[in-house]
Amino acid sequence: MDKLSEDKIAEIRSVTQVDKLVEDLKLGKVNGCYLKAFRTMDLLEKGVKGCAWNSAQDLISIFTCIGDLLSKADPIETVPTNIVLRVLKGIRDEYVTASSKNPGDKSIGFDTEESLPKMMISDDLATHDYAQPFKDLKENIIDYLSELDSELEASVENIASKSLEQISSGQVILTAGKSKSVEAFLKYAAKYMTFQVFVAESEPSGNGTELAMKLAEAGINTILIPDSAIFAIMPRVNKVIIGTHSVMANGGLKAVSGSYALAYAAKNHSVPLTVCTPIFKITPNYLISHDQVAFNKFVSPHQILPFHESPFSTETEVVNPVFDYVPPELVNGFVTNWGCYTPSYVYRLLSELYHRRDYLS
């Protein structure tokens, strides 16, 4: 892919105002994955309508540039980049349909574009270069973007509506952290049945406490437990339902710190672990090791050991990680706005969501 000229980049910046989002991401001002997703969508819509482009390839270069800027802003935050990848896939699909070279050739199913037999079978060795301009392409892409928008807006309700299949009356649910999806999930179920929820405090961030109060306000029988009590409480629990920060390409999770112990305790007691997540949290990255660079984020140790407790606060190393990796064997299923899937299916979702060329650089 050719590098974009300085002018082009400047145009992109001014039209889409990507710098504003980059700054907000760097400062951590964007709270919650849904907000990040919506703001990225806004940006991309502005890009389609405002920037100058002739062919799909031009637009792909523009969006790739935006994606790079967003990922550099905060490498840990994968939601903006996932949305960009999703839109890029949409553009490529629209192009393929428009070009009608192989009408049925939209990559459904697992994409093995480069596989040996495919090479042998088709004369068509050149893969699409996406450079041919088409009249209706712009309209189609704008339509696609608005469809994606409505899908994003409806994702929380979609996830919540699946709760009736997952929970039944009289069960005891355990959760941790503060996830909008889980909150909506439980509140929806509470309208139709009664159940009990244990919420782990998730110190030092205190997310669990917040969630517990919200659930209690909704009339759910909520019990707040300290993080240390998770193993002790597990024999009494029927299901563990958590949210996650992102879903890795192998079906593993990057979830709130403490999730590994929670997942392992659940496995030990044969309690199923379900993860509520919107589909745009699935990233094409793999985890290589628990202390991989740029996997985890560390926040201020003041939450654990206040600075004024010197000299101890200066003589001790204090570690305050935000995330934990949960391997796919510990996860029983994902509840997403597209449906319910097992971790072993994530590879397939990846190929439906994103195009290999975009994430394999």
Partner: protein, 390 residues
């Protein structure tokens, strides 16, 4: 900054605990001002009729201190109780026409009741009382009072020395030997006496290791251990229990304290220990539990909930209410959040468990004063003890 002090003997420390006028704490200057470091001695919950009986003043002190949370830890609690009982034996006045042994038994029973009401007795205390009672019943009525008194006193003294003091010394020595490789990373949880002794001894023996202290709300007792280690110059890392998966791949050994070992091999320890043992097991890190044999109990429980009666410091309160344990300096911070939680919406119930059970499959080894044991041998040791003590 590392001032190497000689570690006071555990018995002297316990005696200090019992006899000090103020609660034994290191005074830190809190920027918030005010002396809110003193835990309130909660007396109100004790049934008024208890005051109708008169207790030995030392026993009374011990009971209240336990209730307030200034004497914690199973070994310390047992020791302070025994010191009080020894004094009781010394001061006991046998009523006319009554036998020393039988009358003291009655006094002992009421003392036990009192202590139970202050705070449910720990397994170590129960074992101590059982030991005393078994020997008390063996004293025949023909033995003169002074002899009986002396006998009992020396028995209690013997128990304290042999079963507790020397046991702690032996475990410290053997445990310190277990830190044998250079650059070991030891993980521990809370503030267990034995583990602290082991780490300090290994450090004084000149070994090179790094300690990771794990702590958890609400009690945050690990902070005290961290402060103790740092002030001696031991390389320490301090984390909360949520971060254990992140650090565990660097850990070479996990040392845990235990409140008691149960006959089926389960370790009863402070809440959160089972979780740590679980994560350690998933990373193939050996878990070493330090426990004196006098804390071995014949109970065989499988569920942490069955232990709930021995949990909260205020036994009358509901299972699902926050017991304010107020041990750590930062209890103020916790209190305000807790108030917030209870104030805003009374509907959020808060769970308070004090102990949990670690299954034997997660325990690699138990360090006792007799030997290193696998978790499966606990019932064998209990059987041997019962024979020995009789």
């Amino acid at each position: 900054m590392a001032i190497v002090k000689k570690e006071p003997k555990i018995r002297e420390k316990a005696a200090e605990n019992v006899n000090k006028k103020e609660p034994k704490e290191i005074k830190t200057k809190s920027p918030h001002g005010g002396d809110d470091n003193e835990p309130e001695i909660a007396v109100a919950h004790l049934a008024p009729k208890l005051f109708l009986q008169s207790y030995h003043p030392l026993l009374f002190k011990v009971g209240l201190r336990m209730s307030a949370g200034s004497i914690t830890g199973s070994t310390q609690r047992c020791l302070s109780m025994l010191i009080a009982i020894k004094q009781m034996i010394h001061d006991h006045v046998t009523p006319e026409n009554k036998d020393f042994a039988r009358s003291f038994q009655a006094a002992l029973n009421s003392a036990v009741k009192f202590l139970n009401q202050c705070r449910p007795m720990s397994v170590s205390m129960v074992n101590g009382i059982a030991f005393i009672k078994s020997h008390l019943s063996k004293i025949s009525s023909t033995v003169p009072e002074e002899v009986a008194r002396k006998q009992m006193k020396s028995l209690v003294e013997g128990f304290m020395t042999k079963e507790i003091e020397l046991a702690v010394k032996a475990i410290t020595k053997e445990g310190a030997k277990k830190i044998d490789h250079d650059g070991e990373v030891i993980l521990t949880y809370g503030n267990p006496l034995l583990v602290k002794n082991i780490l300090l001894k290994a450090f004084m023996d000149g070994k090179n290791f790094h300690v990771i202290v794990v702590d958890a709300k609400p009690r945050m007792v690990g902070k005290d251990l961290m402060k103790c280690l740092v002030s001696r110059g031991v390389k320490t890392t301090y984390i909360q229990i949520n971060a254990i998966a992140h650090v565990m791949n660097k850990v070479t050994k996990v040392f845990l304290g235990a409140h008691a070992m149960l006959a089926n091999g389960y370790a009863m320890a402070s809440i959160g220990s089972a979780q740590i043992a679980l994560v350690a097991d998933s990373f193939n890190v050996p878990v070493l539990v330090c426990c004196e044999t006098f804390k071995f109990s014949e109970k065989a429980i499988l569920d942490s909930f069955a232990l709930s009666k021995s949990g909260p410091l205020k036994p009358q309160e509901d299972f699902f209410n926050y017991g304010n344990t107020g041990k750590s300096k930062d209890s103020k911070g916790i209190k305000s959040k807790q108030d917030e939680v209870q104030k805003k919406e009374k509907k959020v119930n808060v769970l308070s468990l004090s102990y949990d059970l670690t299954p034997p499959s997660f325990i690699t080894m138990i360090i006792t004063e007799k030997s290193f044991l696998p978790a499966s041998s606990v019932s064998a040791v209990i059987r041997n003890r019962t024979h020995e003590l009789q």
